[in-house]
């Protein structure tokens, strides 16, 4: 889905409602959206953006425990894996 993390550029169109995905003929393939954290983000805000509900923040946290130790501490520039809504 959309990123929205790019710098606002008046010359450039808005792609915040883009929905992306992927799949493979290979077994056990897993697809993730990549989201780059921007200033002011929280996991619940990102979950609301991608899943329509901030309550699903744990889905994002659990997919990123390799880089996140505390769900309340995310930093601009971090690239988070966003699993598809289950």
């Amino acid at each position: 889905m959309a990123n929205g993390q790019d710098k606002k550029d008046d010359d450039m169109p808005d792609f915040s409602d883009v929905q992306g995905g992927a799949s493979s003929t290979a077994p056990a393939a897993a697809a993730y959206e990549i989201y780059e954290v921007k200033s002011g983000d929280s996991l619940s805000r990102i979950a609301k953006h991608f899943y329509g509900s901030g309550n699903l923040w744990k889905t994002i946290f659990e997919a990123n425990t390799d880089i996140l130790k505390d769900p309340n501490k995310i930093f601009p520039g971090q690239k988070l894996k966003i699993p598809p809504k289950s």
């Binding site: 889905m1 959309a2 990123n3 993390q5 790019d6 550029d9 010359d11 450039m12 169109p13 792609f15 409602d17 883009v18 929905q19 992306g20 995905g21 992927a22 799949s23 493979s24 003929t25 290979a26 077994p27 056990a28 393939a29 897993a30 697809a31 993730y32 959206e33 990549i34 894996k81």
Partner: protein, 152 residues
């Protein structure tokens, strides 16, 4: 004289040695290590774009221009085996500027050539213009494949 005697004594020995050699079975062929096939890491073998895919995940028709309401598919074929990470970075291109449209990662374990599809859709419609999709393999910063396309 001593020399001649020595040669004469040696001749039968040499002849005997040659005769023995003639009857020896041929030496066995040299032992070679059994052929081992090293796993070939996953690589991108092809990319095509379309607005629909079949059950085999291949595009039904290869396109380079799309309509505003199309879902756009990038089908990436891979060869090789092992764990693979493919990343598709979709961008809008306007002159020297680019805007990120979407970024998706696909992780899989490949035992055979695989067909992988990435897709993007925009319910409000795609702005007209030039776009590109870059496919990265693993953590590479240089794309393994790039395709450009137009909308409008």
């Amino acid at each position: 004289m001593k020399k001649i005697t020595a040669i004469m004594l040696a001749l039968p020995v040499m002849a005997g040695a040659l005769a023995c050699k003639k009857n020896e079975p041929p030496p066995p062929p040299p032992v070679t290590a059994p052929a081992t096939t090293l796993p070939v890491p996953v690589s991108v073998s092809g990319i095509s774009l379309g607005n629909a895919i079949g059950e085999d995940k291949r595009v039904t028709a290869s396109l380079e221009a799309f309509g505003a309401k199309d879902t756009i598919y990038a089908v990436v074929e891979t060869a090789g085996t092992g764990h693979a990470k493919l990343r598709a970075l979709w961008s809008f291109v306007k002159g020297e500027k680019t805007a990120k449209v979407d970024e998706t990662m696909l992780e899989f374990d490949s035992a055979a050539p695989a067909v992988n599809e990435f897709h993007i859709a925009k319910p409000s419609g795609w702005p007209k213009g030039d776009y590109k999709v870059e496919i990265f393999l693993g953590d590479a910063t240089v794309p393994a494949a790039t395709k450009t396309f137009k909308v409008g």
